[in-house]
C-alpha cells in the first residue's frame, strides 16, 4: 500500500513518535495546543469573517458589494474584529498559562498557581516598563509584536521557564526552610503559603527581564525575539533563489511558533518599489507584457508560495479532507476551511497541529518551494504574465493570480497546477499519518495517554465520559 520511500519514512516517524510521546514537554505542548484550539477556532473564524466580508478592503466586501446592502457593515466589522482580537491575539498568554499548568501537573506541582504565575510573567514581559505601565501591549492589534498564534513560541518559552523555575524554587525552599512544625499538619493554607517564595521570585525575575527588554526599545518580549531574528532589509533581493531561501527560513520559524519575515501583516512583499514600478508600467501601457520586474516576492511568493497563508496550508486542508482517515484531523480541516480560504492559517497551525508536529513540518517547508517553482518556470519563460494589480485583502490565493493579472486564464491554470504539485508533496505524509493513527488504535504503538499515566499517575486532562472517538466514521 505504501511505496518504499513512504515505508522508510513511516518507520522513522514511528520511532520518533515512540520517543516524543514519553517526553513531558511534548505531552504538555500537545495538551496546550488542544486546549487552545476552541479559542483559536472562534477567533480565527471571526477574524476571517470580519476581514473578508465586513471591512472596506475585504474580498467578499468588494465582490458582493456588501457596503451597498449592509450600510453598517464596517461598524459591525470593527466590533467583530475586536472580538477576534481578544481570543486569537491573546493566544500567547493563554499558551503560557496552559503550558505551565500542564507541565506542573506532570511534575505534580500546584498547577493553578504555576499556570497563573506564568500568565502574569508573560504579561509583565509584554509590558514596556520604561514607556509606562499604562501602555500594556496585550491587544496591540494584528502586528508582529502582538500575542497572536504566530508568536506562540514566546508564550511556550515563558510557560516553560516559569514552570521549571517554580519547580526548582520550591525544591530550594523546601530544603532551606525548616520542616513543618509537628503540631500543625499541612493544610490548604500552608500549601498556598509555600508558594509565596517561588511566585514572588518568578515575578521579580520577569519584572527585571522586562525592564532590560524595555531598555532595548522593543515593545515586550515577543518584539525583542522578532527583532533579534529579523533579517536586514538588503537581504530581500528579488531573485528566485533568495525568495526560496527566505521563504524556507520564514517557514522554519513558523513551525516552532514564531512569525518570520514574511508575516502576512508586514506587507513587506507587496509594498516593494519593484511592485510599484510594475504596477505603474502596467497601468501606463495597459498590458502586462515586458514588465520591468517579473520575479518579486509578490509575484512569486504571495501568489504561488503562500496559498492559505504560509506553508500552502490551504493544500493541506484540502488534502486532509480528501485523504485523511482520522476523524479529529478531518473535523479540524472542515473548521479551518473557511479561514484558510481567506489566508488565515492559525486553526491549522494549532489544530492538526503543524506546530512541533514532525509529520507535517517537512511538507510545510517543502510545498511552498514546489509551488513557487511551478509558478516561476512559466513566468521566467514569459509564458504567463506576473501578478501586478492589487487585489482585495483576503482574496483566496488560487484566485489571487487570476485577479491580479486582470483575468488571465493561463495564470489561473498555473495556480491550480501549483496547488496540485503541493498536494503531491503533502500526500505521502498524510498517508503515513493515517498509518500511525491506525497502529495506535490497534495498540501496536503506545498512545500518549498511557505514557502520561506512567509519568504522573493520571492523565493530564481527564478523559470525557462519552465516547471520544467513534470507532468507524461513515463517509
Amino acid at each position: 500500500m505504501l511505496s518504499p520511500m513512504e515505508t522508510w519514512l513511516a518507520n522513522r516517524y514511528l520511532r520518533i513518535q515512540q520517543y516524543i510521546r514519553q517526553k513531558k514537554v511534548y505531552i504538555a505542548v500537545s495538551h496546550t495546543l488542544g486546549s487552545l484550539l476552541p479559542f483559536v477556532i472562534i477567533g480565527s473564524f471571526l477574524q476571517a469573517f470580519a476581514r473578508s466580508a465586513l471591512m472596506a478592503n475585504g474580498f467578499f466586501y468588494n465582490i458582493y458589494h456588501v457596503g451597498e446592502w449592509l450600510p453598517n457593515a464596517r461598524n459591525i466589522g470593527q466590533v467583530v474584529n475586536s472580538l477576534s482580537d481578544i481570543t486569537i491575539n491573546f493566544s500567547l498568554f493563554i499558551a503560557a498559562f496552559l503550558f505551565a499548568k500542564y507541565l506542573a501537573r506532570l511534575y505534580k506541582l500546584n498547577d493553578g498557581i504555576v499556570g497563573w504565575t506564568a500568565l502574569l510573567a508573560a504579561m509583565i514581559l509584554q509590558t514596556n516598563i520604561v514607556n509606562g505601565l499604562n501602555r500594556v501591549n496585550l491587544v496591540s492589534g494584528l502586528n508582529n509584536n502582538g500575542g497572536g498564534v504566530h508568536n506562540l513560541f514566546v508564550g511556550l518559552i515563558v510557560g516553560y521557564v516559569a514552570a521549571q523555575s517554580y519547580r526548582s524554587l520550591t525544591w530550594i525552599a523546601a530544603h532551606w526552610q525548616h520542616a513543618p512544625v509537628s503540631w500543625q499538619d499541612e493544610t490548604f493554607v500552608t500549601r498556598g503559603l509555600q508558594a509565596i517564595f517561588p511566585v514572588s521570585m518568578i515575578l521579580a525575575g520577569a519584572l527585571g527581564l522586562s525592564f532590560l527588554i524595555s531598555l532595548t526599545g522593543q515593545q515586550g518580549f515577543a518584539g525583542l525575539v522578532l527583532y533579534t531574528i529579523a533579517l536586514p532589509r538588503w537581504v530581500f533581493s528579488h531573485a528566485i533563489v533568495t525568495i526560496m531561501i527566505i521563504t524556507f527560513w520564514n517557514n522554519i520559524l513558523n513551525v516552532i511558533g514564531l512569525s518570520g519575515p514574511l508575516s502576512p501583516f508586514t506587507q513587506l512583499t507587496i509594498d516593494s518599489s519593484q511592485s510599484t514600478t510594475n504596477l505603474s508600467t502596467a497601468l501606463k501601457n495597459g498590458s502586462l507584457n515586458n514588465l520591468p520586474y517579473p520575479v518579486t516576492f509578490h509575484t512569486i511568493y504571495d501568489t504561488y508560495g503562500a496559498m492559505g497563508g504560509n506553508g500552502m496550508v490551504l493544500v493541506l486542508v484540502f488534502a486532509l479532507i480528501l485523504f485523511s482517515r482520522q476523524p479529529d484531523r478531518r473535523h479540524v480541516a472542515w473548521w479551518s476551511l473557511f479561514p484558510t480560504l481567506m489566508n488565515f492559517n492559525d486553526i491549522a497551525m494549532v489544530g492538526f497541529p503543524i506546530f512541533f508536529n514532525p509529520i507535517y513540518i517537512v511538507p510545510y517547508l517543502l510545498s511552498p518551494l514546489v509551488g513557487m517553482f511551478v509558478g516561476w518556470v512559466p513566468i521566467h519563460f514569459h509564458w504567463i504574465p506576473p501578478v501586478v494589480y492589487s487585489v482585495p485583502n483576503t482574496t483566496p490565493s488560487f484566485l489571487a493570480g487570476f485577479m491580479g493579472t486582470n483575468g488571465n486564464w493561463a495564470v489561473l491554470l498555473v495556480s491550480v497546477l501549483a496547488l496540485i504539485a503541493s498536494l503531491l508533496v503533502y500526500l505521502p505524509f498524510i498517508r503515513i499519518d493515517n498509518l500511525v493513527w491506525l497502529k495506535t488504535l490497534a495498540g501496536e504503538l503506545p498512545d500518549q495517554q498511557t505514557e502520561e499515566v506512567k509519568i504522573s499517575g493520571h492523565e493530564v486532562i481527564a478523559q470525557r465520559t462519552g465516547p471520544a472517538v467513534k470507532k468507524s466514521e461513515s463517509y
Binding site: F59, N62, I63, Y64, S280, L283, K284, G286, L322, R325, Y389, V391, P392, T395, P396, F398, L399, F402, M403, G404, N406, G407, N434, L438, T440, L441, A442, G443, P446, D447, Q449, T450, Q463, A468, K471, S472, Y475
Partner: protein, 307 residues
Amino acid sequence: MAMKLSPNEQAQLSKSPSRIKRIIWLVIALLLVAGMAVPGYFYQKTAVANARVIHNSRMAPVIFIPGSSATQNRFDSLIKELNSRSIGHSYLKITVKTNDELSITGKIGTNDNEPFIVVGFQNNKDGYSNIKKQARWFSIAMKYLQNRYRFNNFVGIGHSNGGLIYTLYLEEYLNQDDLTINKLMTIGTPYNLSEKNIANRTEILTDMIKDRTYLPKNIRMWSIAGTENYSDDGIVPVESVEAGKYVYQDQVKQYTLINVTGDDSQHSDLPQNQEIVGYIQQYMLTNPNQNRPGTRNNTGQGSRNSN
C-alpha cells in the same frame, strides 16, 4: 486508551470514502469556487479600469476654499484676474448644502489639465464647530470631484478660515493612498483665531497641532499674512497667522511664511492683492497658458512662471 481493533474494523477504517459522495462534494466545491471567481473577475475588471483612468489622469485642479461669510463667488475677481494673465483655465463652483447635497455651476473644459474649482458652503458661519462641519462638507465635495473628474493630485488655496478647513481636511479626511495634495497656500488664515498672544492656544490650534502628524509629508506650503499696520490686517492678527508654523513647520516638505503690506493688504482685499495674485501664479499654477483646440498658444503677458 488503546483499543484492540479487529482486522475487520481496521479494514473498515482504511477504506476509501464512497465515490458518489466524493463527486457530490466536488460539484459543490466547484460551484462555490465559481461563486467567488465570477464576481471576483468582474470586480477586478472594473477596479483595474478605474485604476488605469486615475493613474493616467493628467488633471491637477486648483481648488479654492473661501473664508467665513463668503460664498462660492468669493474668488470671482481673483480668477478673473488670473485668467486675464493666462488662458485655458475653466472655472467650476460648488456649494455644499447643509444636507450634504451639492449645487454646481460652471463646467470643466475637456482638455483642461488645471481647472479652477471653488468649494463654498451654505452654512458659512465662523466658529470651530462650524469649521469642523465645513471640513466634512469639503470632503464630500472632494469625493464627488474625484469620482467625476478622476484626478489623483491637486493644489489647494484657502482664504481666511478656508485655510483652517483645508488643515482639518488634510488631517482628518484626506486618503493619501488615493489623492495627493502637491501644494497648499493659505491667505490670511487665523490659525489661532483672533488670539494675539501665542501663549494662549485656542482649541482649534491645539487640535490641529495634536493631529499634525497626519498631514501629508510632501506638501509645499505657503502661508501669506497681510498687515495694514504692525499688528494685523484689520481683522486677523499677524501672530495668529504665524501660529501656523506650529502645525506645518517640520511636518511638511516646505513651509514659507510671507508677509504682505501696502495697498490691498486689508484682510478681505487679500485675494485681489496684486502681489498675492502674482504669488499664486508663480507658485501654484504649473500651466499658466494651456493649449486648447482652436486657441493659439499665448506666451505673452504674465508668463512669469518659471516652470
